[in-house]
Every structure is written in structure tokens, then in C-alpha cells.
């Protein structure tokens, strides 16, 4: 399986602050990968690095086999829908499509117009007059019609109402079903991602905490609750993600390949949201380098 994004030791520094640190991951092609984490975690930074809007301070990143924004051919492979879906307020919907046609060699004009029709957008309407949801759909159409190998979206539905949000994801998923396209989208709302992503990267405090196939992650993470115990007493193959204690009881979120056999524990599985939350709340140190970098194929 090919990787669509490969980062190694990637870091980005702004003056004093590291917006992204020690980022090493591989995102497989042919999937919808969600990049999730709290605000300020570095999601926009990572995505901007992937599309070439920023250049790394340290480390390397390779996207679709090439260096981001290196040349026109590379730019054609990656589509980007930026946060708040920027559009030219003075240009009409049709003008935006013309923009895309002029600036992209692989532009599929017929498909773009078909999509605009289906969405019910008025081609003559100025983009500044569109609603948030309509602008997002326009930006998505622009991103899809250039026929990229990878489509990157930065919090595309964050400011949309539930209906607009659903419609956006519907169009996106339909495009994924129709074309051989990989998707990388970020969100700080996990429930958005749960439906559409089959691969997830959790970013907290500018570092990657865990990455992998969603089903695989859900199968290997468990919530253990039982009488109070210290973390050191747990088996070595159980990596503690988060621990919380009362005077009598301990609750751990652990990651392990093996089954949990200790009868003292009540074992429950986690939903994606709980899993992400566990990593967000987890004690400062990230999961050991080995498991965080696994490529689940």
C-alpha cells in the first residue's frame, strides 16, 4: 500500500513556540484519514506543511511521493480546502470554476458544473453572498474538480450548521466512493470524524499521540475499571493511555494487543470519541515511539 503522506521528525517553529514537534507518521493511500486534536494542537500547521503553504523548520515531509508545492505537477496532485473555506468575494461561482479551469491541468469542468447544478448553486452569484455551507460546497467542488490524488481539508465543517455539515460530508464521501482519492481532514469535533474516517491521527500539544486504522485502534484499546491499583502493577504489554483513581477504584485506558485476562478488571471498549479524549487527557508523555508510529495496513 502506498503512503500518501510521510513525515519524519517534522517540526515547525514560530519564533519561540513549536507549533509542531517530532512528528513522524505515515498516512496510507486510499483512506479517509482524520486528524483530530484540540484547538492549537498543530492540526492546521501539519496540514499547511502537507500542502506546501508552510515549510518545515526541522524534519521532512513527503506527499504523494513528492515535496509539497515543489512544482506545478506536485501541486496538481494535492487539493486543499483551507479553514473557513476562503473564496474570492468579488468573483461569482462560475468565475471560480473558470479560475479552476485556468489554473489546473487536470480540471474536470463537466463534473464541476454538474456538481454545482446538483447543489443548487447559482453560477452567477458572487461568492461573497453565499452562505457558509454554500461556500464550503464551492470550495469542495474546486478541490475535487482538479482531480487530485489527495484532498486535504482543514476543519471544513467547523462553522457549519448540522444540515450543511451533513450535506458537505455526503458530497465528500460520494466523491471518495466514485474516484480513487485519499482524504485527509482535520476536526476538533470527533463525532464528525467517526462516520467518515477509517484512519485517524491524534494530535495533542503539537505532538502525534497515536495514529492508525480506526477499527484496529478501537479493538486494541480498552477501559479497565476495578479496585485501586498502581500503573506499575499492570502487565508490560498494556500501555497506559490514561489513568484516574479514587481512593478505592482505578480506571485505566490501556492499549494492548493481547486480551485482558485479569478477572479483577471490568473491561469495556471505547468509542472513538472516548479514545481520543483519553489521549487528550492522558499524562504528558506520548505513547512510546514504537506504537505511535505504527502503520496499520
Amino acid at each position: 500500500m502506498t503512503t500518501v503522506v510521510a513525515a519524519s521528525g517534522l517540526g515547525k517553529q514560530y519564533r519561540r513556540r513549536w507549533a509542531l514537534r517530532d512528528c513522524t507518521l505515515e498516512i496510507p493511500a486510499g483512506h479517509v484519514t482524520g486528524l483530530v486534536g484540540p484547538n492549537g494542537a498543530g492540526k492546521t500547521t501539519l496540514l499547511s506543511l502537507a500542502v506546501g503553504l508552510l515549510s518545515p523548520t526541522v524534519g521532512t515531509i513527503e506527499v504523494c511521493g513528492g515535496s509539497p508545492a515543489a512544482d506545478a505537477a506536485q501541486l496538481a496532485k494535492v487539493g486543499f480546502v483551507a479553514q473557513d473555506t476562503p473564496t474570492y468575494a468579488g468573483l461569482s461561482v462560475a468565475d471560480h470554476l473558470r479560475l479552476g479551469a485556468h489554473l489546473n491541468p487536470r480540471w474536470d469542468d463537466a463534473a464541476a458544473h454538474r456538481r454545482i447544478d446538483r447543489l443548487g448553486l447559482d453560477p452567477g452569484q458572487k461568492a461573497g453572498r453565499l452562505s457558509g455551507g454554500q461556500r464550503a460546497q464551492l470550495a469542495l467542488t474546486l478541490g475535487l474538480a482538479k482531480r487530485p490524488e489527495l484532498l486535504v481539508l482543514d476543519e471544513p465543517v467547523a462553522s457549519l450548521d448540522p444540515l450543511a455539515r451533513r450535506e458537505f460530508l455526503q458530497v465528500l464521501m460520494e466523491a471518495v466512493a466514485e474516484e480513487e482519492i485519499s482524504v485527509l481532514l482535520s476536526s476538533h469535533v470527533v463525532s464528525d470524524l467517526e462516520r467518515v474516517c477509517d484512519h485517524v491521527v491524534v494530535l495533542v500539544d503539537s505532538q502525534v499521540r497515536v495514529a492508525g486504522d480506526v477499527e484496529e485502534l478501537l479493538a486494541t484499546h480498552h477501559r479497565l475499571s476495578g479496585p485501586r491499583r498502581e500503573p506499575g502493577t499492570l502487565p508490560a504489554d498494556q500501555h497506559v493511555v490514561r489513568a484516574s483513581h479514587t481512593d478505592r477504584q482505578s480506571t485505566y485506558v490501556v492499549r494492548t494487543e493481547a486480551a485482558v485476562l485479569d478477572p479483577a478488571w471490568s473491561v469495556t471498549s471505547l468509542g472513538l470519541e472516548d479514545l481520543v479524549l483519553a489521549y487528550m487527557e492522558g499524562a504528558g508523555s506520548p505513547t512510546p515511539a514504537g506504537s505511535a508510529l505504527e502503520v496499520i495496513q
Binding site: 500542502v51 506546501g52 503553504l53 508552510l54 515549510s55 508545492a69 512544482d71 506545478a72 505537477a73 501541486l75 496538481a76 494535492v78 487539493g79 486543499f80 483551507a82 473557513d84 476562503p86 473564496t87 474570492y88 468575494a89 468579488g90 468573483l91 468565475d95 473558470r98 479560475l99 479552476g100 485556468h102 489554473l103 489546473n104 491541468p105 487536470r106 470550495a139 474546486l142 478541490g143 482538479k146
Partner: protein, 346 residues
């Protein structure tokens, strides 16, 4: 990319074209009559109507303002606007590289700006040619095309100014990333340069002519003095339309010097004034003679006047030299812009 740049430039270009066309039409209607007028009479200044003088000064003003306007309203927001509103994220994720994007935007805008300025400059130069430096009898005169004020508004230099202003605006916008701030800074820098170049650079672009003249009544242009201060003599240049750069009294050894102390007493009182005039002359003294006698004595003591000037014939050489200067500066700024775009905006 050209389509997009055109689309974004369209409104500003059309507005500017309309204004320039209107100006050209107005100039065209009065031009031929003016030329005929100038042909007939050397003291043409007195024959000029108010409209003519208005157009003359207006032409200067318009050409002074046009490059600045282009630099501020086309140049400064060119990149700054996209950075400000975030639309650069849309533009830079299409399949054109940043450099190509800037090259297209800058190139087309500069071309359009240069073309518009060229049209207006040609029109004004053509229109004013008959009367540049026109002398009046007693009434006054129009500035010759060599004087700093008019020089910048004739010939080819306005095109150089426009190109420079546009590239300057773009560069400032790129660095500052805010349209309004970029506009203000561009204006400030451009005005400074427009003052600094005629004062310090233009005289040296082409080697001026330097002559040493005797000071006599026929060559004198004027004698001035500041309140309580020494007198100063200025001589006329060979042609009234030449541009004098240095007008300095020198002594017998060739060193610049003030006029000797006796000169002040020698002078007859200025005609028609007793005591004070606008320059605050000294009190009228019982004088010993005429102006001519004073000047002869000055000459006998070895005083001469050094005149460094650019004759009218230098006009086109200076024009091309200054245009080249501005174009070089534009090229450097453009190169800097591309570098900044690639290196510093990441």
C-alpha cells in the same frame, strides 16, 4: 493565471482608463490651438488663457499623482489583500507555483500601469511642448521642462515612476501583509524617493556643464540677501530654460566664497523700496555708485561665478538615465519580492 489577474485588475484598470481618456480628450481639444499660438509669439505666456494654465499645471499634477495612485491602489493591495483575506490559500493550492502566481500578477499589473502612464505622459508632453518654459514679458513664466517640478512629468520618466511605484507597493504589501498599512508606507516611501532623487541623484546622472562666468549686469539673474545675512549673487544660465544646479561665487583662487564686506555698502538701494522689503534688506545706505561700478570692482578683485547646470539639450539624456535608474530599482525590488515570497512567507 493571466485570466485571474486580469479579472482582479479589471475594475481598477477600467476606472483609470476612463480618467486618463477624459484627460487626453481635454488635452487634445486644446493642443493644436496652443501649438499655433506658440508659433506666432515668443512672449506666449501672456497669451495663455486661464484654461491653458490650468491644464498645464493640471497636467503636471496628474502625472505626479498617477504613479503614486497606481502604486498605492494597484500595487499595495496586489499581494497584501490576498494575504489579509486568506484567499492566498485558495490561489496557492491550485496547480500554479507561488512564483508563477506573483510573476503573473506583478507582470500584468506593471504592464497595464506602464501603458496607462505612457498614454498620459505622451499626451501631456505633446500638449505642453510648445509652451514649456514659455516666458512672459512682465507677467511671469511657466516652468521649463528641465526644472525638477516639470521634468518628472514629461517624457519617459513617469513610466519609470509608475513601474517603480507598482513594484514598491507590491513589495511593501508582501512584507507588511496588510493593505491599508502597505498603502500608507508605499506612499511615504514613494514621496521620499520623489523628493530625494531630483535633489541628490538627478544632477549627477549625466555630467553637467560647468562654466566660470564674469559677474556683470548682463549676466546677473538676481541679488538676494537674507535678513542680516550676506548677499548672494545668481547668474542666469545661457538659456533661460536650463537647469541651474550650482550658482556659486568664487574668488581668484577658485574657492567658493561669500561676497566681500564692502559689497553690501556698495549696492544702490533696491528700486522702489526704503527700509524693509520681503527679503528684509539692510537700511538704505548712502551709496557710492551704480550697480555696474560695484560689479566692475568685484571683477577686478578676481571674483567670478561658477555655474554648474544642465542645459536644455540634456533633457532626453537625463530622462533615459533616470528611467534606467528607476527600472533598475524596480528590478531589484521585484527580485527581492520573489525571494521574500519563497523564503520568508513559509
Amino acid at each position: 493565471m493571466i485570466w485571474l489577474t486580469w479579472r482582479q485588475l479589471r475594475l481598477g484598470l477600467v476606472a483609470t482608463c476612463v480618467l486618463v481618456t477624459a484627460a487626453c480628450v481635454w488635452l487634445a481639444t486644446t493642443g493644436p490651438a496652443l501649438a499655433r499660438l506658440a508659433h506666432r509669439n515668443t512672449d506666449v505666456y501672456d497669451l495663455l488663457t486661464d484654461t491653458h494654465r490650468l491644464l498645464f499645471n493640471g497636467g503636471i499634477a496628474a502625472l505626479a499623482v498617477l504613479p503614486a495612485v497606481l502604486g498605492i491602489f494597484w500595487g499595495a493591495p496586489l499581494v497584501a489583500r490576498e494575504l489579509e483575506t486568506g484567499t492566498y490559500r485558495l490561489a496557492w493550492s491550485q496547480s500554479v507555483t507561488r512564483s508563477r502566481w506573483l510573476a503573473s500578477k506583478l507582470g500584468l499589473t506593471v504592464l497595464a500601469g506602464a501603458a496607462v502612464t505612457a498614454v498620459l505622459a505622451t499626451a501631456v508632453t505633446w500638449w505642453a511642448a510648445p509652451i514649456d518654459g514659455a516666458q512672459g514679458g512682465q507677467q511671469g513664466s511657466l516652468p521649463s521642462r528641465m526644472t525638477p517640478i516639470a521634468f518628472g512629468m514629461r517624457g519617459v520618466v513617469p513610466i519609470g515612476y509608475a513601474i517603480f511605484a507598482l513594484v514598491l507597493g507590491t513589495f511593501v504589501g508582501l512584507v507588511v501583509r496588510r493593505s491599508v498599512a502597505a498603502m500608507a508606507i508605499t506612499l511615504a516611501v514613494y514621496v521620499f524617493i520623489q523628493i530625494a532623487v531630483p535633489m541628490w541623484v538627478r544632477p549627477h546622472l549625466v555630467a553637467p556643464v560647468s562654466i566660470t562666468e564674469t559677474i556683470s549686469e548682463s549676466t546677473i539673474d538676481g541679488i538676494t540677501a537674507e535678513a542680516g545675512g550676506p548677499f548672494n549673487i545668481t547668474l542666469q544660465t545661457p538659456d533661460s530654460r536650463d537647469w541651474a544646479i550650482t550658482n556659486q561665487t568664487i574668488d581668484a583662487d577658485g574657492n567658493a566664497t561669500d561676497l566681500p564686506a564692502w559689497f553690501a555698502d556698495c549696492l544702490p538701494p533696491p528700486p522702489g523700496a526704503e527700509g524693509r522689503d520681503s527679503q528684509g534688506t539692510v537700511q538704505a545706505h548712502p551709496s557710492t555708485g551704480t550697480l555696474d561700478a560695484c560689479l566692475t570692482r568685484l571683477d577686478a578683485e578676481g571674483y567670478r561665478q561658477r555655474l554648474v547646470y544642465h542645459p536644455l539639450s540634456h533633457f532626453w539624456r537625463l530622462q533615459w538615465a533616470e528611467t534606467a535608474l528607476y527600472l533598475t530599482a524596480s528590478g531589484l525590488l521585484a527580485g527581492l519580492s520573489f525571494w521574500w515570497l519563497r523564503r520568508r512567507l513559509s
